[in-house]
Structure formats: C-alpha cells, structure tokens
C-alpha cells in the first residue's frame, strides 16, 4: 500500500504534470497589430529566448510589416521562418529586421526558429 508520503508525491506529480501541460499548451494571450494610416499594419516582434508577442492578430487582406528584433544570442533563434509564406530570414542580434508580408488570407500562419523550437502564430482575421 502507498504510505502518506507516497500519496502526497503522486498527487503533487499529477498536479505538476497538469500545470506543465497547461503552461505550455494552454491558451495564449493575443496581440493585435498596429494599423498605420495608408501603410502596412505594423507588428513589433521581440526575440529573446522566445517570441514576444507570440500570438499576433492582423487584419486579413492588408499587407503586414514585421519589425523583428532579436536580442539574444542563442543559435536557435537566429533563423526566423514563416514556413507557410516562404519567409526565412537570418536575424542578426540587435538589429531590427523588417519583413514585408503581402496581404494575408484569413487563417493562422505559424512562425518558428530555425530548429522549430521557438514558436509563434500570426492570425489573420477579417
């Protein structure tokens, strides 16, 4: 039979596992792109060990300009890949790289680092 300590350990493991799953796979905060008059919608994206913001909502049918700034030096984040749109850029640390995207159709477009470990999503809504 399990003793009390074991029961406690098992119970807290279950809680920890649930929390871990929720933490990584749970719903995320969404950030809306700034719309600028006459131009593309602007999105400022920071890369430092992850993407901030990592859920970006843009308006469909309008061009998008991503201003990406990488501040970390991890090898992982050096590549910025927006696979569905055929975008792949090298991000030098500390320099803003502007990526112009065409007007997007409604839908979700995942972006990742070169190794597919850092991930974010661009969501085009009407």
């Amino acid at each position: 039979m399990l003793d009390t300590t074991e029961v406690m350990v098992v119970a807290s493991s279950l809680v920890a596992a649930a929390a871990t799953a929720l933490f990584f796979f749970g719903p995320r905060k969404r950030t809306r792109a700034k719309s600028e008059t006459g131009g593309a919608q602007q999105v400022d994206l920071m890369v430092d060990g992850g993407y901030r913001p990592d859920r970006i909502v843009v308006r469909a049918g309008m061009p998008v300009k991503l201003n990406v700034l990488r501040t970390d030096r991890s090898a992982c984040s050096e590549q910025f890949v927006l696979g569905d749109l055929g975008v792949s850029r090298t991000l030098p640390t500390g320099r803003v790289v502007s990526i112009d995207l065409p007007a997007l159709k409604e839908g979700a477009y995942d972006f990742t680092c070169g190794m597919n470990m850092l991930r974010g999503r661009l969501i085009a809504e009407s």
Binding site: L2, D3, T4, T5, E6, V9, V10, S13, L14, A16, A17, T20, A21, F23, F24, F25, G26, R28, D44, M46, D48, G49, G50, Y51, R52, D54, L69, T71, D72, R73, S74, A75, C76, Q79, V81, G83, G86, S88, R89, T90, P92, T93, G94, R95, V96, T112, G114, M115, N116, M117, L118, R119
Partner: protein
C-alpha cells in the same frame, strides 16, 4: 531609412561615420536614436545596431557635422561619441572568450567535486559535503548563469528549450544535495525515523550538477565552432566583394565604402583587386577570374562592353566599368540570397522531426515528473528520494531536442553551401530532396549536349589533295558567303591557321552552292545537285558516309574534278560525354530530346552513349515527353535553359536550369547550374544524394538517441539488469549527440564530386 539618390556633385561631400551610442536599453531606444539621427539636416542614411551599440550615419559634411549628430543624440537622452578603431566581429569573439572562461571555472571547481564523489567515501572527511557544496556553487552561479538565464527567458515565453531541461536538471540535483547536506537523515524520516542512524545518511550529488554544466558548456563550445564552419561557404562567398570601391567622380578617383557605389558610377579596378559591383566595362582590357562565382576555372577576357560581376577577381589589367547593379542586386548577392533562403526552407523529410521537436521539451518534462513519481513509489523506502531525484535528473539532461532540431538544417546548410562553391545552386530543401530521388535525366540536345552551332567534324578527300589544301581552297571560295555552313568552314580554316587566298571571282547559287576562282583555279562548293550540274562525279560514297553519320556533306570540286567532302555537324560539347558517363554510372537513365531529325540526333546519342532519343520534338512537346517518362514510373530531371523550357521544367520532378551564369533569379528550376557545363548535373544530383544521406543519418541518430536515451535514463533497464544511468554520463551523451550531428553534417564540406572538376 532608405538611401536617397544623390546627385554626383553633392555626393562628393558625403561621409560615412560610425558613432558609439550608449544608454540604449532596448530596441525601442535604438529606433528612437535612429529616428533622431535621420531627422538631422544633411543626414542621408542612418542605421542603429542595438547589439554593437553603433549608429552608422551617412551625412553631407557641408550641411552638418559630427558635433551636430552627437548633440542630437544627447537631446534624445543618449550619449554618442566617435569610437576608437576596432574589429567588427568583436562581440562574437568576446562571447567565445566568455564561454571559455566559464568552462575553465567549471573544470577548476567541478573536477575536485567529481573526484571526491568518485572516491566512494575514501576522500570523505567530516564536513566534506559542505566543501563539495562550496566548490559547486561557482559552477552553478557563474558557469551555469547563461543557461539559467536563457531557461528563464524561454519559460517567460511559455516555451521550453534545451536550457530549460538543463537548468531544471542541474537545479534539481543541486537543491537536493543542499537539502541532503543540511538534513542528511531526511530519507528515513516520517514513521521510520527511529531507524535513521544505521548509516543511512542521504548521499549528495553535487558532482552531477557540476559535471552536467561542464559538459553542456563543452558541447556548446564545440558546437559553436562546428556551426561557424557550417556557414563558412556562404560567408566566404559574401566576403568576395571588397569593402571599398574606387569610383571616378568628376574625373577624380575616390575610394568610397561599397554601400555608396550607385548605379551609373564609373568604377576603377586595378590588377589583383576584386570587382566590387556588377557592371559593363567602358575602358581597359583584362582577364578576370570568375571561378568563385560560376565555378568556371579558366579566366575570362574582358574588354569594353563586357559584363563584369561583383566578387570576381581582376587579374591582369586595369578596368573601368559602369556600375549596373549594386547592393543586393549584384549577382553575388543574389546567389547568397538564393542559398540563404534555401537553407532556411523545410525539407519534407524533416516534417516528422519538426512536429516532434515542437512538443519535445514539454513532453520530456512530463516524462521527468512521471519518472520521479514512479521511482518514489516503487523504490525501497530508504533510497526512494535519492533514486527518484537521480533518475529524474538523468531524464532531464539526456533529452536533446537540439540534435533533432539540428539534424536537417545543419546538413542543408553545409550541403547547399558546398553546392554554391561548385556552381550548383539548389533553390529549396524540397528540390534537394527531389533531386536525390531522380533516376532519369532528360537532356536537350542543342546547347546542352552540343555546342549549338555547326562546325567541321570530318574531311574526306579523293586522294588528289591533302585535307589542308581542300579546306584552304574551300574556305577561300566560301570566304564571301554568309551561310552558316560556309562560316563553319572558314572558322575551321582559321582555327587550323591555314593561309586562305582571296578569291578572284565569286558567284553563289542559292540552294546549290558557290562557284569561285581561287589562285587561277575554278572551285565548286556545294550539294550533289551542284556537282551534277557541273558534271562532277565520284563523290557519292564520301557523301553517303557523312550523311549516314548525321553530318551535312559539303562537296568540293576543283577544275571540274571532285577532290573532297567536308562533313559539318553540330559537335558535342567537350564535357558532355564525361557528364553522360557520370550520370550513367550513377544509375541514371539518360534521355535526349531534340527538335532535330533522327539522323543528327542519333549521331550525337551514339557519340555520347545516351540511352534513348526523342527526335523531332517541338518546343511545346517537351513537357509531353517528360510526362511520358513519368508515366513509366520514372523520376525525371529535365535540363533546360530556364526560360523556353519552363513548362517542361515545371512538369519534371526536378527542373535544372543550366548556364544561368549570373542570372540566378530564374524560377522554373529547382536547381540552377551557374556554369554552362553539363558536368554540373551529376555534381548536383550527387550532392543531393549525399546531403539527403547525411540528413537521414542525422535524423535516425537523433531519434534513436532520444528514443533509447530517455527510457534508459528513466531507469527502465533497472528492473532487468539493475543498470542505472548516472546524470553525469547522461549529460556527456547529450552534449556529444548534438555535436556528432554537426560533425556528420560537416563531412559534406569536403564532398568530392569528380564530375565537377574543371576540364584538364
């Protein structure tokens, strides 16, 4: 800010200046400084680099000064000053130095801890656990700092990487050991506290924490070296263009930074200098080494009107040329961009690895939690805490998402870079993968296998005159003709350095030939009808011999007597035979496609050893031929010029554009051969096979490693063999696994592709 087009008179006063900016804390600061500077009157161009804390400004020295610039920056709340001279890659080498220092500290303090632990109590003394703790502290706090910092950053983004696993693993081992040092009898606490003192003090595992950090740093150090080498090929390409260019403005030579060369500038290149931008020569003559760009080994002669390309090396003379393409428009930059873009694309084969690595770390965390709970419940009470901690740590540190993540990109990077060096540009990972499956190659005859212009390939004489005399007389008779066959004969005569007389008279009969008077003799040159009309006979056999070989016969008679026949054909290119042979030795089915008649087509096919011929194919029928072959279940590569063959290239499983030279932007093809040399094709296919082979090995190894490593670390083998993996060994295996993936990929760097060697 965009570059402003400047008039030549103004541009003379433009200056570029780098300012060191301090006080910036984030990217927004950098952008604010950039905006401030670009609003200063007279500033043409400005960019601020947050990492190097440098502002690079191009300004008009007549309207503004360095002081005005620094004041503007100060007014925005930051400080700017003119920096001292320094190397550009300082940040990188500083980072490597830092890594080395951290590694040294880890070894210096970690090694004694490991030795004490390995001695199994022989080196123990009262308080020795505290000494171990003291030694481990700097390893965690200093050497491990970047790992913990990066882990924290990732967790803040609710994502997890390698660093999270290592940080949790070492953190757990360390904290557990601290607790065990302070409360050594904790393991036997609770209801059984009374049994506590028959030597059941909790063991400490400081050595695990220290060693894991040491190994991870070591792995990272090796990895950064290997990674740098992986990108070498492209970096070397990029470095071909010089940093400065000499331009001629108002008749004066001025040295300006490369970025300031504008379209239309006259650029001066001296012998031994590399050419800074693309353009066309206006003055001077020189031979230029273009091997770095096209793989073409022979120097190319350049004189007025010739095109020159950035990154190529001017060797013998001074050239002045007008810039036509600058900045990212140059062929060199286009090539670099094509390769860089391709290196970032996803290979279909990596799809599974992508899905796995995307959820890898959270899943490993869940496995680690399960491992802890299982060991705590299943292990004997005295050892359950220790076992649970040890095995959990082992799981955390053996899992390596990096090997999985690196498997494909590392090989692609090296393979595609190597290709670029050999003049083979692969447009995407998918094309590379497609290229590795090709079993059939369709070649267009004209321009690919043959030179695309008629030439003399054989001379048959009646025995009355030598070959040379026949050729010389014929060339003299034809010297006034514009007919392609006539030009081929004249070209052959001059290639053989024959003395060709000037004809005294000349008359052409369209469709029949020419009749000329040369050195007092009457020469008839033409078809059989021409001979028959003049009653010349005896040429029939020679004519048949030439025709049956697919050549066009030109018959020659002197003073009414047949003297010889000249066979003209579109000759094979020098390298075509060896290319076809390489393809066949790779197991390829080689197919020739041509709009020509059966005769000339099969002549070329025989000469080159081609398996199958489709003759008389109209340009729009090419795609149909490709479909026919595909219907036979073949994976077809089609070689074409990239423009006229676009539908066929698109229909094929792999489109190969050959001889695009420096025009790489053509899109119908998945692979572009810069050099107009068919041997690039076996090279490209060989490269694709080797690269895909390495990717397959990498993926296999990375999957297998994790699939075996994690269960073993979790202690699955313990039930059968009593065998457990120590965290130390686990971390060593982890570090080596990503390094081994990189090293395996680096093998492609020295890939030998015999077919890609230059003509001897």
């Amino acid at each position: 800010m965009n570059a402003v087009e400047t008039s030549p008179s103004l541009s003379g006063a433009l200056e570029r200046m780098d300012l060191a900016v301090s006080g910036m804390t984030c990217a927004a600061c950098a952008r604010r400084v950039e905006r401030t500077l670009s609003e200063v009157e007279g500033v043409q161009e400005c960019s601020v680099n947050f990492a190097t804390r440098k502002a690079s400004v191009v300004f008009d020295a007549k309207t503004t000064s360095v002081n005005a610039l620094t004041e503007a920056v100060a007014s925005a709340g930051y400080q700017a000053e003119v920096p001292k001279a320094e190397g550009s890659s300082e940040a990188d080498s500083a980072e490597e130095k830092g890594l080395r220092r951290r590694l040294a500290v880890a070894v210096l303090f970690g090694l004694p801890v490991v030795v004490m632990a390995m001695s199994h109590g022989a080196l123990d003394f009262p308080g020795s656990n505290w000494v171990q703790l003291l030694f481990t502290l700097p390893v965690i706090a200093y050497s491990g700092a970047p790992i913990f910092k990066a882990a924290w950053a990732a967790l803040r983004h609710r994502s997890a990487d390698m660093n999270v696993l290592v940080a949790l693993g070492t953190g757990t081992a360390f904290l557990y050991s601290v607790v065990a040092t302070q409360w050594p009898t904790l393991g036997a606490s609770g209801e059984h506290a009374g049994h506590g003192d028959h030597g059941a003090a909790l063991p400490v595992y400081f050595e695990a924490a220290a060693a894991v950090i040491g190994f991870v740093l070591l792995g990272r150090f090796l990895e950064s070296r290997a990674r740098t080498r992986a990108g070498d090929a492209i970096r070397r390409l990029q470095a071909l263009a010089p940093a400065n260019a000499t331009v001629l403005r108002d008749g004066v030579e001025r040295e300006v930074p490369l970025s300031q060369v504008r379209v239309g500038d006259e650029v001066v290149v001296r012998p031994g200098q590399s050419i800074p931008v693309d353009g066309s020569v206006v003055e001077g003559a020189s031979s230029v080494d273009e091997s770095m760009l096209t793989g073409e080994s022979l120097p190319v002669e350049k004189s007025a009107g010739a095109e020159v390309f950035a990154g190529t090396m001017n060797s013998t003379g001074r050239l002045v040329f007008r810039a036509a393409k600058v900045g990212t428009d140059t062929a060199l930059q286009q090539i670099v961009q094509v390769v860089e873009r391709a290196q970032g694309t996803k290979a279909p084969i990596a799809r599974l690895a992508d899905v796995v690595s995307g959820v890898f770390t959270p899943v490993v965390l869940l496995i680690a939690i399960a491992t802890f709970a299982a060991w705590f419940v299943l292990a004997p009470e005295e050892t359950r805490l220790t076992m649970a901690v040890l095995n959990t740590v082992a799981v955390l540190v053996i899992a390596c998402p990096c090997a999985l993540g690196l498997a494909t990109p590392a090989a692609l990077m090296v393979g595609m870079g190597r290709g670029a060096q050999l003049g083979v540009l692969v447009k995407s990972a998918a094309s590379l993968e497609g290229a590795s499956h090709i079993d059939t190659v369709v070649l267009d005859k004209t321009g690919t296998l043959t030179q695309g212009r008629p030439a003399v390939v054989r001379i048959i004489t009646s025995g009355d005159m030598t070959e040379r005399d026949v050729l010389a007389l014929t060339a003299a008779a034809e010297s006034g003709s514009e007919h392609p066959l006539a030009r081929a004969i004249v070209a052959e005569a001059s290639a053989r350095e024959l003395k060709v007389a000037k004809p005294e008279s000349f008359a052409a009969t369209p469709g029949h030939g020419v009749e000329a008077r040369v050195e007092g003799r009457t020469v008839f040159v033409g078809s059989r009808r021409m001979m028959e009309r003049h009653g010349v006979s005896g040429s029939a056999e020679a004519e048949r011999a030439l025709t049956s070989d697919g050549q066009t016969p030109v018959l020659v008679a002197v003073d009414g007597k047949w003297v010889g026949a000249i066979g003209i054909a579109d000759p094979e290119r020098e390298e075509a035979a060896s290319a076809v042979q390489s393809l066949r030795s790779m197991g390829m089915h080689v197919v020739m496609l041509t709009g020509d008649h059966e005769g000339p087509a099969s002549r070329v096919a025989r000469a080159l050893g081609i398996d199958r011929v489709f003759a008389g194919v109209l340009p729009e029928g090419k795609a149909h031929v490709v479909r026919t072959l595909q219907a036979e279940g073949r994976k077809v590569a089609m070689v074409g010029d990239g423009i006229n063959d676009a539908p066929a290239l698109a229909q094929a499983d792999l489109g190969v554009a050959m001889g695009t030279g420096t025009d790489v932007a053509r899109d119908a093809a998945g692979v572009a051969l810069l050099r107009s040399d068919l041997r690039g094709l076996p090279a490209a296919l060989g490269l694709a096979r080797s690269t895909m082979g390495v990717i397959r090995q990498n993926l296999f190894w990375a999957f297998l490693y994790n699939a075996l490593g994690i269960p073993v670390a979790a202690g699955l083998l313990y039930t059968m063999t009593g065998w457990l993996l120590s965290p130390m060994l686990a971390s060593l295996a982890m570090s080596l696994s990503s390094v081994s993936v990189l090293l395996n990929s680096l093998r492609l760097r020295s890939l030998r592709l015999p077919a890609a060697q230059p003509v001897a």
